[in-house]
């Protein structure tokens, strides 16, 4: 293998148009070569291939041929139509040919020598008909069940893949995952350019799909297992992090919506496009804090997307009215969207995807997830962390300022309960309440805030008809958490 291959001098690639997949492959599948896509039943390999074809035909001016051994064309069109792909239209426009080859061992008698020239002729005919640049074979291993002479079949498949290369077709060949091998029939022996594995697991009744690029000759590629989703818009692959940490880090500061809290954050509030954790025990005012933040953003004319996991939008709006925050006017102006959902209804990934959709639709400046802890209850710790990293990554890439509220347990120290996500946060504000005398004394402090000097004070606050009001500073209690002078001194980049 050549060592001179580098990121800038890679082989030509054909974009799949599948969000995320082109990121982890650094540009798509090897152009003019076959790629093997292997997975178990229901792992999404057919959909991946069809997406590749349809996106190619519709967006990249690369017509495609689908040769399927699996279902007939009508069933197939029906299946993918539910995912938003109109195969009929592409077929009418001569951008797509679907050819169905039915093979039933019981209907065929074999005697003497034969070859699969019929397959070649049909494929070539279809390719010529529309000037195809892309081909999908789904699932060619079905032939092993339909024809008895596997020796002929292997020789012919080898010839077929060579033929596809000679024709410079970018091809996706789907295969069933085998016990030991990547494919049941060892097709990886013939297709060595690129191999992609799909996996579908169900853990605690929540399904998770993963994709892994096992091999990609002549190209860099992400080597992790990446989660992917199948929903009404097809496949989305979620790179765990975009391999490089290269978000913009704006110097602009935006108000928390509470002037006294702005003061605690170097007098200016949060950094734009940073991530903020607003954590605390139950009933301490996290949602009100978030509402202040959103209210201030909308007042600046910015768009906000608020994900509610505990209340309905109506409840939220009503409750905030009592704190003097009128969210309804922002909803009416189209600046604020409140999305309520119960996290337990879908798996983590579906949640993430829906959140992504909403973010794409609205292109908000500010996103609030309230509370993030409800999402965290849905999956395993590793999954949650992975997912949050992805959420945060995608928000940061878009320059969105994101606030996450988090319900902390009363007993444990905040550092311990939230170690899972705190490292992902730029600013961490903690609110708590303790009973002092005959009333609850609510307190707030900034646990960390990267890249800015911030207050070490623990400030008491109260709710009024004008929302949250911080009381004048007092001496911090002796047991209050202290935190790095080093950190507060760090300069923003």
């Amino acid at each position: 293998m050549s060592k001179s291959v580098n990121q800038h001098n890679e082989i030509p690639k054909a974009r799949t148009g599948i969000p995320g997949l082109d990121d982890i492959t650094f540009g798509g599948l090897p152009a003019g070569r076959p790629t093997l896509v292997s997975g178990g039943p229901g792992s999404g390999k057919t959909l991946l291939g069809i997406s590749f074809l349809v996106e190619g035909a519709a967006r990249f001016s690369e017509p495609g041929v689908l040769l399927t051994f699996e279902e007939n064309a009508e069933e197939l069109a029906e299946d993918v139509r539910s995912l938003g792909y109109d195969l009929d239209k592409l077929i009418r426009e001569k951008k797509l040919v679907v050819d169905y080859i039915h093979v039933d061992r019981n209907e065929i008698e074999e005697t003497g020598e034969y070859d699969l020239e019929g397959l070649f002729v049909r494929l070539e005919h279809a390719i010529r008909e529309i000037g195809a640049r892309r081909v999908m074979l789904d699932t060619i291993e079905t032939l092993f069940g339909g024809l008895k002479d596997s020796g002929i079949l292997r020789a012919e498949l080898r010839r077929l893949f060579r033929w596809l290369r000679d024709k410079e077709m970018t091809a996706v060949v789907t295969a069933e995952r085998g016990e030991q091998l990547f494919t049941r029939q060892g097709l990886e022996e013939y297709i060595t350019d690129a191999v992609i594995l799909l996996d579908h697991r169900v853990h605690e009744q929540i399904s998770t799909r993963r994709i892994r690029i096992v091999k990609y000759r002549g190209s860099m590629h992400g080597t992790n297992e990446y989660p992917f989703l199948i929903d009404r818009d097809g496949i989305t692959v979620l790179p765990v992090t975009s391999l490089l940490l290269e978000h913009e880090a704006p110097h602009e500061r935006i108000s928390t919506g509470i002037p006294a809290l702005d003061d605690m954050l170097g007098g200016k509030g949060f950094y734009r496009s940073s991530t903020i954790l607003m954590s605390g025990t139950a009933g301490t005012g996290k949602t009100t804090m978030a509402a202040h933040f959103v209210d201030a953003a909308c007042a600046r004319g910015e768009k906000c997307l608020y994900f509610l996991f505990e209340e309905s939008p109506q409840q939220m709006v009503r409750n905030m009215t009592s704190a003097g925050i009128d969210l309804q006017r922002w909803v009416d102006k189209g600046l604020l969207q409140l999305h309520a959902d119960r996290p337990s209804r879908h798996g983590l990934e579906n949640h993430l995807l829906q959140m992504n959709h909403s973010v794409e639709l609205l292109s908000p400046d500010v996103v609030v997830v309230d509370p993030i802890t409800n999402l965290m209850a849905v999956g395993t710790q590793a999954d949650v962390r992975t997912m949050l990293t992805r959420v945060i990554d995608s928000l940061k890439t878009r320059g969105i300022t994101a606030m996450f509220t988090s319900l902390a347990s009363q007993v444990e120290s905040p550092e311990r309960t939230e170690s899972l996500i705190s490292s992902l946060m730029d600013t961490w504000v903690y609110v708590s309440a303790e009973i002092v005398g005959k009333q609850r004394d609510r307190q707030i402090f900034v646990l960390k805030s990267r890249g800015m000097p911030h207050s070490d004070e623990v400030r008491s606050f109260r709710f009024s008809s004008r929302g949250i009001e911080l009381l004048p500073p007092t001496q911090p209690p002796a047991n209050a958490p202290t935190h790095g002078a080093k950190r507060s001194a760090r300069k923003p980049k």
């Binding site: 050819d99 074999e110 020598e113 034969y114 070859d115 019929g118 002729v121 070539e124």
Partner: protein, 100 residues
């Protein structure tokens, strides 16, 4: 369920050009038909190189493929038809053995 002697056989042989296999298959087919279906068969040879679209109708994959269009049901035999016994079984002119 072997075919009754009166029936006429409408046969179609799919090939892709005059390859040795195709030539062999046609010769074998003629011989078998003359011996077993004298006077009641017709053979149409379809060259997919010339008419690639015709391959779709009969779901042609392997070549050569012999399709018995009549009598129904449709039967397919792939290969150069060098094993007369199997061709006869495939055409329902011989009962299928359990081992077949």
């Amino acid at each position: 369920m072997t075919a009754t002697p009166e029936e006429t056989f409408d046969l179609r042989l799919y090939v892709a050009g005059a390859t040795p296999k195709a030539v062999r298959a046609f010769a074998n087919l003629r011989k078998i038909c003359d011996e077993h279906l004298a006077g009641r068969y017709s053979i149409e040879v379809v060259d997919l190189v010339k008419n690639p679209a015709l391959g779709r109708g009969d779901q042609i994959l392997a070549l050569p493929t012999l399709v018995r269009r009549l009598p129904t049901p449709i039967k397919k035999i792939i290969g150069d038809l060098s094993n007369t016994e199997r061709v006869l079984v495939g055409l329902d002119l011989r009962p299928r053995r359990a081992s077949a």
